[in-house]
Symmetry: C2
Subunit: 464 residues, 2 copies
């Protein structure tokens, strides 16, 4: 870092301290916590952490930083998996986790407006007496709405309720020039001009910083049924999923696959006693009148593909326990191989290619001698192989890199994507041209240049 750059950062920090006082912090521990802490990517701390409390404050930080060409990296729960919160060029980590106001709930319109730092758990607790809920549920319970929108997150409910792409109605965002933009109202649909909402959703803080969001809510279903179906082979579970999706009308809300290794880890971590074999966790939403028949139809499909059983959860508590275990799968994997690093991959393919993609990936796991549970939102064609490696073993690390490159290439060759829900960040920039071609990458670069000509918003990510 040149002296001129360091002076600029120091000047920005001084100015912000005058305006925001103790909400500007420069202690190294806090700075490290505000960079990547979850994955194998290096921890690249910012020069300072600033806690913003309103859109106006975010605008102030962006304006001051912009004047001195100092990077600003938006920070929410810090749970991103591809280095989105790293500060490779230093700068300000703008922490929005204190923006936790639920601005409005419009039950009649099935929407809510929240500040960027609200978590899905917080919103759903707030909604608990309304009969409504917000469905998007990434693994991390501490993920914030701002971060979930910025990475276009999803989770287990996406097959029925969609991802953040589908569930963000509009956002308030601070743009690179410090202006505050509202991308729309609360109408359920609009064809008014360019879709700025969808442009900011998934842009990982590189085009603007989302400070407030209006999101869709849904009625809690009258009846929820959860079932567990073990299979001898992953392919049978995948085929079951595909056939059930095609048939449609079964009230399917979630279909999750856990392979044998993942079941073992989950059994230990969450104190379950599931059979150690590839297993589908399935959830059905519907009405009392029809749902039992629909579940029975699903069971028949599973049986037709050699299911080893089909057990429905007997109680609300058992349902919760199963889904908690599923959400903790990544942590279960980390706990099962302590001292090793668990890297959650994230490809998504057309569902007709899912069984093939998983089979080839399993063959690669064996070929490279890796340990890697597989878990997936298979109703969306999205799965996570999670290799656990010794990060200090150069050979393992190299095997992993080759495995990852082959996995991304495989998914893209199958008309899929290198990331279903984790985003690009730093970790997946290398695959973007393969997925979108030079034309696509150039279009994305043109967007970045148009919205952030001086490159101050989360530089070094997506299209750096």
């Amino acid at each position: 870092m040149s002296i001129g750059v360091q002076r600029s950062v120091d000047t920005v920090i001084d100015i912000l301290k005058q305006r925001l006082a103790s909400r500007v912090e420069t202690g190294m521990e806090l700075r490290r916590q505000h960079a990547n802490t979850v994955t194998w990517l290096d921890n690249e701390p910012p020069d300072a952490v600033v806690f913003g409390q309103s859109s106006e404050e975010v605008a102030l930080v962006v304006q001051v930083a912009g004047e001195y060409r100092v990077p600003v990296i938006a920070f929410g729960g810090g749970t991103s998996l591809e280095g989105q919160v790293n500060a490779p060029r230093g700068g300000i980590s703008l922490d929005l986790s204190r923006m936790t106001r639920i601005v409005a709930v419009h039950a009649d319109d099935l929407d809510a407006t929240v500040e960027a730092g609200v978590t899905r758990v917080q919103l759903n607790q707030y909604l608990r007496d309304t009969g409504l809920f917000f469905p998007v549920d990434p693994g991390a319970e501490t993920a914030t709405f701002g971060g979930m929108a910025a990475t276009r997150a999803s989770g287990t409910n996406a097959m029925r309720y969609g991802t953040m792409r589908d569930n963000v109605v509009s956002v308030t965002a601070v743009m690179a020039d410090g202006r505050v933009l509202r991308t729309g109202g609360r109408a359920r649909k609009s064809s008014a001009g360019y879709d700025l909402t969808r442009l900011l959703v998934g842009s990982e803080g590189t085009l603007g910083i989302i400070t407030e969001l209006t999101v869709r809510l849904y009625g809690i279903p009258e009846v929820t049924i959860v079932a567990v179906a073990p299979f001898a082979r992953v392919a049978d579970a995948a085929t079951t999923t595909m056939q059930a999706m095609q048939l449609g009308g079964l009230g399917l809300a979630r279909i999750e696959l856990l392979d044998r290794l993942q079941i073992e880890a989950v059994n230990t971590y969450s104190k379950l006693a599931l059979a150690c074999t590839p297993t589908l966790f399935v959830e059905f939403h519907g009405t009392a009148a029809g749902l039992a028949d629909q579940v029975e139809t699903f069971r028949e499909i599973a049986d037709g593909n050699g299911a080893l059983g089909f057990v429905t959860a007997a109680s609300e508590e058992e349902r919760r326990r199963l889904w908690k275990a599923r959400h903790d799968a990544y942590w279960a994997t980390r706990a099962a191989w302590p001292g090793r690093l668990a890297l959650a991959t994230d490809v998504c393919v057309p569902i007709s290619r899912l069984a093939e993609c998983i089979a080839e990936t399993e063959a690669d796991i064996e070929r490279f001698g890796l340990i890697s549970p597989i878990v997936g939102h298979v109703g969306d064609g999205n799965f996570h192989a999670t290799p656990v490696i010794d990060p200090h073993d150069a050979a393992e690390r190299q095997a992993l890199e080759e495995f990852l490159a082959r996995l991304a290439a495989r998914a893209i060759a199958m008309e899929g994507t290198c990331t279903g829900e984790h985003g690009i960040g730093q970790g997946k920039m290398r695959y973007l041209e393969k997925e979108f071609g030079a034309e696509g990458l150039d279009a994305m670069r043109a967007l970045k240049a148009a919205f952030d000509p001086h490159g101050i918003l989360n530089p070094g990510k997506i299209v750096a």
Copy 2:
């Protein structure tokens, strides 16, 4: 038009004739047919019409035109309502209606890839033996997929199945520099980089020309029930809609409102004998097991709001007839007031504001002495008042303009939008700043400048 500009156009036409021969036409009648013919906006014909037959040909036309800074206006079915196909600065109307190839249907993945000139009717006929269908259904049966995507169209099924925003998986588009871009694969979700798909959907040919699309398909529901519910007052119908939406789980696929005047026009045009009072057309999709109960629940809600009746269609034929009548509502209005001009407005508001927005609009219709049926996709909060005026009567025209401005302002003030599904084109550019602020408009202008620096793609639209 300066001599230099005219020479450029002539040169482009000469070059294209050498390459595409008889598919370059310059007859005035054809040129007029390729500009706005549906609404009150002036007919602004292009200098030539070119029929493209492939992405490569579209790229050729854009490259040649771009070299000489000649506008290129993509043209599909010619059914847009806001002057999207007009050529205010002349240039080439690039007609894609001969690109009618259904490239692939992936039944397992519930998607299809079609060329831009395919119509929804054509695709659904093609799919008729597969048990699948494509739901988005704008009024015009001749609307093409390219045009539907470019205007972010929707229709009666949007409340359940979403709009073109939700149902376009990815597109192939020719960009302003003539490069051909594919915005993604066929995975159901992705968080890979900026959402180029959603950026092109709704961009009305101003950022790129969509030549091919992958769209979502759905299983035809096991059971479909259609009902007609007349009310004494529009507000009662709107309240019924809101309450049914809130309850959720009723299998609602469409809720359409026709006011008294619209029912009269439809009765005449489609030879129906519906009671002349505000009426909901409702469609339910579901399974044999549960749907009857769900319909009954809806009927109780309607009764609670003073419904004057509730009749379900007895046969598939009757169902089709009702929906055909609904789709023909605009044409029924035109036919009911021959010689006058019917202008379909298109606001969309949060559903809690719908009754109020319609009531204020009705008051305005009376205040300005207008004739204006109202029809709407009320499940989405979207409605069309359709004033019929004598376009040669300056006073009526002025009353209309004021009515339109007040309608757009009203919807925007209610956190809605000036257009739910027709797009901006030329007709609604004046409302865009009110809806998105100067910040939003500037962001859209930055997008346009980034993607089309020389302004050759459909100039004079959206952000001109």
